[in-house]
């Protein structure tokens, strides 16, 4: 039986509209006012991090919000979308896209044979949808960037003079979106801090998603991802022990699908505290080249607003 899922707090994320100059023929997609709030928890079935997003479109938006893109630098296990939305994601990572789907808006007429349709499920100005989720074995290593786009027809560049030599100045699509940052999985391919105690045993245990001394953002859950065995050392996972600000939190760690020990600590509640937080982690293992058992005990700190 894995440990209980821990629900994180919601996060309000500010967004910014691009201020690009578009060609006169171009039909923009950035007339939306997205607000993305996120929650992170641990999936009790897999031990992986579950990121759930709620998307609102401000009342002053000029377009219905039709697509949400998120640039990720890591793999995900799965993704889901709310009813009449779809998610298109590559398990290897890259950009995840959620798009309105389901019934096509009855008022929509196509501009040309490639024109993508408008859907009735798009988020209207002043409305909110939730249920956009990602499941990943990776904790957050920092904010991830999203791009929200409103529905508009896809304009064809005008046919220029028959002897023209210019290529159409079609903007990069991320320029034609409203971007922002939110919580999401980061790159967990490497351990960022193996501690600094004894060379022979420091490889027993390390922290994947932050470096000791990091300042972490406030108002959001603190995620911790611990990895064993830097160079193939024999480690005794049952001896793993974790103390956060003098409180034993070992039981709050579960094993993820990739074998890491992971935990999520809600913001604004003990044992987290404002200012300097101290996380003591330890695990036993066999000293390389010997039969001796030793303990890798590392002290990691982070600060919160």
């Amino acid at each position: 039986m894995r440990g209980p899922a821990i629900i994180g707090a919601f996060l309000l994320v500010l967004t910014s509209a691009a201020r690009a100059q578009f060609p006169s023929w171009y039909l923009p997609h950035n007339q939306v006012q997205p607000t993305v709030t996120s929650a992170v928890s641990l999936d009790p079935a897999t031990g992986d991090f579950l990121y759930v997003y709620t998307v609102a479109n401000g009342a002053g938006a000029q377009q219905r919000l039709a697509e949400l893109y998120m640039d990720l630098k890591t793999q995900i296990s799965s993704a889901t979308a709310p009813t009449d939305w779809e998610v298109l994601a590559d398990p290897a990572g890259g950009t995840v896209v959620w798009g309105a789907s389901g019934p096509v808006d009855l008022a929509w007429t196509e501009l040309h044979p490639l024109d993508p349709p408008s859907h009735a499920s798009e988020i209207a100005p002043g409305a909110t949808r939730t249920g956009f989720s990602l499941r990943s074995p990776c904790a957050g290593t920092g904010p991830v960037t999203f791009f929200a786009r409103g529905y508009n027809h896809e304009a064809q560049p005008p046919q220029t003079d028959a002897n023209a030599d210019s290529a159409p100045a079609v903007p990069q699509w991320r320029t034609d979106a409203v971007s922002g940052q939110t919580l999401g999985p980061g790159d967990c391919s490497t351990v960022r801090d193996w501690g600094n105690r004894r060379p022979g045993v420091d490889g027993f245990l390390g922290v994947v998603n932050f470096v000791s001394g990091d300042a972490l953002p406030g108002g959001v859950p603190v995620t911790v991802q611990v990895r064993f065995s830097r160079s193939g050392e024999t480690v005794l996972p049952a001896t793993f022990h974790a103390v956060l600000n003098s409180q034993d939190v070992t039981a709050q760690f579960v094993t993820s699908s990739r074998g890491d020990r992971v935990a999520v600590f809600p913001p604004g509640a003990a044992p987290l505290k404002s200012g300097r937080n101290v996380l003591l982690l330890s695990v036993d293992g066999i000293v390389p080249g010997t039969t001796h058992q030793a303990t890798d005990s590392d002290r990691f700190t982070f600060t919160l607003p």
């Binding site: 298109l88 995840v96 896209v97 490639l114 024109d115 290529a167 903007p171």
Partner: protein, 404 residues
């Protein structure tokens, strides 16, 4: 019959038969006087043009390279001289610094294209529509300095003191760089296809200076010189020189997207730009297309049609001439003998020169597929827009992306 192409093949075949040595490419050293002595040593007694070429790409001067040109009728004699004097020939070969055999991964059409190490000049094509944000239009150049050797009536080799260049002619090698069209003499020498010399004629003392304005097209190009000597022992005599190994304008480093299987198909090949040569690109774009096609196929079960990327040596891709009549855009494909639709008067492909753009389409155009196709395009490429009956996409490295 293709008059110049046929002649070129004959000449190259003749050279290969007469000379076992590789092309006569010279490094910046030795000096031209040393070359004269080396030619004396191998016992060759005929006119020789010493060509010093300095490419200037995007304003950057590259290493100077020297090469020899001989009259077509003297090629056999030149080869025989090399064979008759192996020791001297070896020293000449050493002095000429022959390149090792290098397999050019892009050389997929060996009948119509020359390996990189056998080119006398290799330069990137010009890009006259490069946007200001990427540096503005670029015309690449090759500066040539020509000196000439000849034989006086006593059989002594000497430097031609001066003369008149009556003509400098550039000729495309037929079917090179994936352009399987344009075999007429008019198209063979079309400046938009092969570039131009400036000046093309003129008088000179000691050496003649001229500049090759490199075309936008990737091509293999041959060069002839007609010289009338002024002063010296052969005053008034005319000599004709032909480069024995060609020049080339090429984009290097492109790869062909592999066969797609279940997720995409390669398409768009024509008689003029065959399928084997129209789907080459930089590796990041290929990776993105493969990833995109896999994701789209998994999401919709449909197959991506991968149309034109770039030709295998890049350069301008004259797919045809687009025109709009009564609001409907029609493409007249480039075809043999149609100068309006080929070699620059076409606006079918303004991009597709550097392997950083692609034309993609879905196979089954339902509204559901269309939406998924579009969203996955955005998640895999930097710029995406509908272009006629397909989507045009740009890789992050495309010079045609406006700045963010």
């Amino acid at each position: 019959m293709r008059p110049f192409g046929g002649r070129l093949l004959f000449l190259l075949a003749g050279l290969a038969a007469c000379s076992p040595d590789r092309p006569v490419n010279l490094q910046p050293t030795p000096a031209n006087g040393d070359i004269l002595r080396l030619i004396e040593e191998i016992g060759f007694r005929g006119p020789v043009a010493i060509v010093t070429a300095t490419p200037i790409e995007d304003g950057h001067r590259r290493a100077t390279k020297r090469s020899l040109m001989v009259p077509p009728a003297q090629r056999d004699a030149f080869g025989a001289a090399l064979r008759a004097h192996p020791a001297a020939a070896a020293r000449l070969t050493l002095a000429l610094q022959q390149a090792d055999e290098i397999t050019d991964p892009n050389l997929i059409d060996s009948l119509n294209n020359t390996r990189r190490d056998s080119l006398q000049v290799l330069v990137a094509p010009s890009i006259l529509n490069r946007p200001a944000s990427a540096g503005g239009p670029v015309e690449n150049l090759v500066q040539f300095s020509l000196e000439f050797l000849d034989i006086d009536p006593n059989g002594n080799i000497f430097f031609v003191p001066g003369g008149d260049i009556d003509s400098l002619l550039l000729m495309a090698r037929i079917n090179s760089a994936g352009h399987y069209h344009g075999s007429s003499l008019l198209e063979d020498t079309l400046p938009r296809r092969v570039g131009r010399f400036d000046p093309r004629t003129g008088s000179f003392t000691t050496s003649f200076q001229t500049t090759w304005h490199v075309p936008e097209f990737s091509q293999e190009i041959n060069h002839t010189i007609r010289l009338t000597e002024r002063g010296g022992p052969n005053d008034g005599q005319t000599r004709f020189f032909f480069n024995v190994f060609p020049y080339a304008s090429r984009v290097t480093g492109l790869h062909r997207i592999p066969p797609g299987g279940a997720t995409y198909v390669r398409t768009g090949g024509t008689t003029e730009h065959p399928e084997d040569f129209n789907d080459w690109a930089v590796q990041p774009l290929i990776d993105a297309i493969v990833s995109f096609a896999t994701a789209y196929n998994q999401a919709r079960g449909d197959v991506v049609r991968v149309n034109d990327l770039s030709l295998f040596f890049g350069g301008r891709f004259d797919v045809g001439r687009a025109s709009t009549v009564n609001g409907v855009t029609v493409l007249t494909p480039c075809h043999e003998g149609d100068l309006q639709s080929c070699w620059g008067n076409a606006n079918g492909h303004q991009e597709h020169r550097l392997g950083t753009e692609a034309d993609l389409n879905l196979t089954t155009n339902t509204l559901l597929n269309r939406a998924g196709f579009y969203r996955l395009l955005l998640s895999h490429f930097q710029s995406v827009y509908p272009e006629g009956n397909h989507w045009h996409v740009r890789d992050a490295a495309s010079i045609y992306n406006p700045p963010r």
